[in-house]
Symmetry: C2
């Protein structure tokens, strides 16, 4: 563990909705101080889940208490199947029954699903509460907690209900990552690799040199990798908050195929990062045919993912299953199937139409890797 | 009926969320043209209710069709009891089943409840649709459709779930007011009187001189009264979009007592404007004790309301019932009971604490008017 108390601050620059992402080690206990610093002085409702509360309830409760803030802890069940309007309605009622009022705040303490649900509740109860993200997973720290996308699923599909609702600040404590199960930690690494691929060639080289140290959860490496990732996410979001210009869509590198893999398997067999890892390689292979992405760089991407132990073993799914699903997903969302393709490591081209035979070849390539 | 095609335009100035409120007579058929003018080119989902669709479906459908816009009409049931999350969920599903996609638009065609529900759906489905308000009641044209407050009720209270979500434009056709039942039309007049009381002494005098013509739905008078009201609402909202500074709270003149009357009677016995009419007189009477509001001006307010045939007959409700309810409502919303009190006709003082005996006297005064 690092002994210094450095907090790395990244600004998400959105005019009067700007905020800081603060990344550090062992800083969760500063949450009360930071609430006050941001002028959040009312009651604090902490929305979390049982596993996370077991670990961090006391630290967060005493930090809020030490700064004179009344707190209420609400626990929701984990998992995509609970990320729905019933959970939202239940939280509305619990918050009101706990006398949460206009001017109070809501903290999401947990992973991406907790943040998505709590953020949607914060956006819509009494026309909006001040909202704070305290993400405790790699995926939430580098992705879900930054950028204001909040929402829940409908039976018809994932994240169909939601809003853009920015937090007042994000507090990411990498010490909370020490308790993550190995598989979940590794899954988050896929999103970190994604940031390197889409915007930062130098960071890709850093990951090639330091991925084993990151996997060993060496704190300096975690801090660096997570704060660089946050910086890239913040920059992209700052350029296209509402996903209107196409800039923000580069964050979907690897996600078109990734989502198809996840939804075909009911969000149960693969973790998000595992599916995205396969999707990035597929997009890389399409890139070699469409954008001139060098085959040697695709090899480097595959090699890096192998270090993170992504297996590419997609079981009984076939490339045709994936293709059918991609077509279906796009029909629901509207419009043609488009991909984010790499031109070189560190640079992608958004919204590219790819001929289906090229997509099929790319999927065959991924399948052959297993 | 006026024969000219004048459209009165009021800008709600909210930076990059600014929009126009267009008031005219017989302009509903311009909706397709205006959608195009605002670059809204996708499918249009019109959310309305059976009574309104009976009258205006064909006009709106052909206007959208004439401008090459695919339209889908969805009907929801009227009334506060249907303004809830079940209706919202039902609309989400219907919209998705009708292949409504990112980039399409939602129009609210109807009264305030229709606009509140449709606006909340527009704010939260697929993280937000372009939204247009086509209000068809006095209350919606001068109040609900302007300012971005959207939302639904929970069993625990009214409008507890919602957002600030501004429309792209508001199209108010005063011709649609001709079909309103007499009682509903008159109820809307209370909000028009409110605007005069809070911001525009000259408009109050205009109403004293023209209320009978307004009640007769003479089109020039309706156009003038509605567009002046819209202008005041737009100005107040432009100064305090998110209800943070207190400026916007002046729109609640008459509403503290008004809401208590409505909620005590289950939103069934009195229309909103009828309750607000009594609330404004009560606030006026408190003003005579607290702010120096001249008794002669209170008499003018009462006289004006009598012309509009507000009866002040509150049946078996007692002043003590009202006081209890006001205390309870404030407890739910948090904070002390505060009133918006007039200083003179055309000027109010927001957030005034009033001693309970003064409130009681004011209620006794209203009761004595019946």
């Amino acid at each position: 563990m690092s002994s210094d108390n450095t907090i790395l601050r990244t600004v998400v620059d959105l005019g009067d909705r700007s905020y800081e992402v603060c990344t550090g080690e062992g800083i969760l206990g500063q949450v009360g101080y930071m609430m006050r610093q941001h002028n959040l002085n009312g009651t604090v409702a902490v929305i979390s889940n049982p596993a996370v509360l077991d670990l961090y309830h006391d630290e967060v409760a005493s930090s809020l208490d030490d700064h004179g803030l009344r707190s209420v802890f609400l626990s929701i069940r984990e998992g995509e199947t609970h990320k729905n309007l019933d959970t939202v309605r239940h939280l509305y009622e619990e918050l009101l029954e706990n006398s949460i009022e206009r001017g109070d705040s809501i903290i999401a303490l947990g992973g991406g699903q907790t943040g998505d649900i709590a953020g949607f509740v914060a956006a819509t109860l009494l026309r909006g509460f001040d909202f704070v993200q305290d993400p405790t997973t790699v995926l939430a720290q580098v992705d879900a907690a930054i950028g204001g996308k909040v929402g829940v699923n409908l039976p018809l599909g994932k994240n169909l209900v939601g809003a853009f609702y920015q937090p007042r600040f994000v507090l990411s404590d990498v010490a909370t990552l020490m308790s993550l199960p190995e598989r979940e930690f590794r899954s988050g690494i896929a999103e970190i690799i994604k940031y390197a691929c889409i915007r930062d060639r130098e960071f890709f080289v850093y990951l090639e040199e330091n991925l084993e140290s990151l996997l060993a959860r060496e704190s300096r490496t975690m801090l660096h990798a997570i704060s660089v990732s946050c910086g890239i996410k913040a920059e992209v979001v700052g350029q296209d908050e509402l996903e209107l210009t196409g800039v923000r869509s580069i964050l979907n590198f690897g996600h078109t195929i990734g989502h198809a893999i996840e939804s075909l398997t009911g969000y149960r067999r693969f973790l998000h990062g595992e599916a995205v890892a396969a999707g990035m390689v597929a997009a890389g292979h399409m890139g070699t045919a469409v954008t001139g992405f060098p085959g040697e760089e695709l090899d480097r991407l595959v090699a890096l993912e192998r270090v993170a132990d992504f297996s590419f073993d997609l079981g009984d799914l076939s490339p045709d299953d994936i293709l059918d699903r991609v077509r279906f997903d796009k029909k629901v969302e509207g419009g043609r199937v488009r991909y984010v393709l790499p031109r070189r490591l560190g640079e992608v081209i958004p919204r590219t139409t790819v001929p289906e035979p090229v997509v099929h070849d790319a999927l065959d390539y991924v399948w052959a890797l297993t």
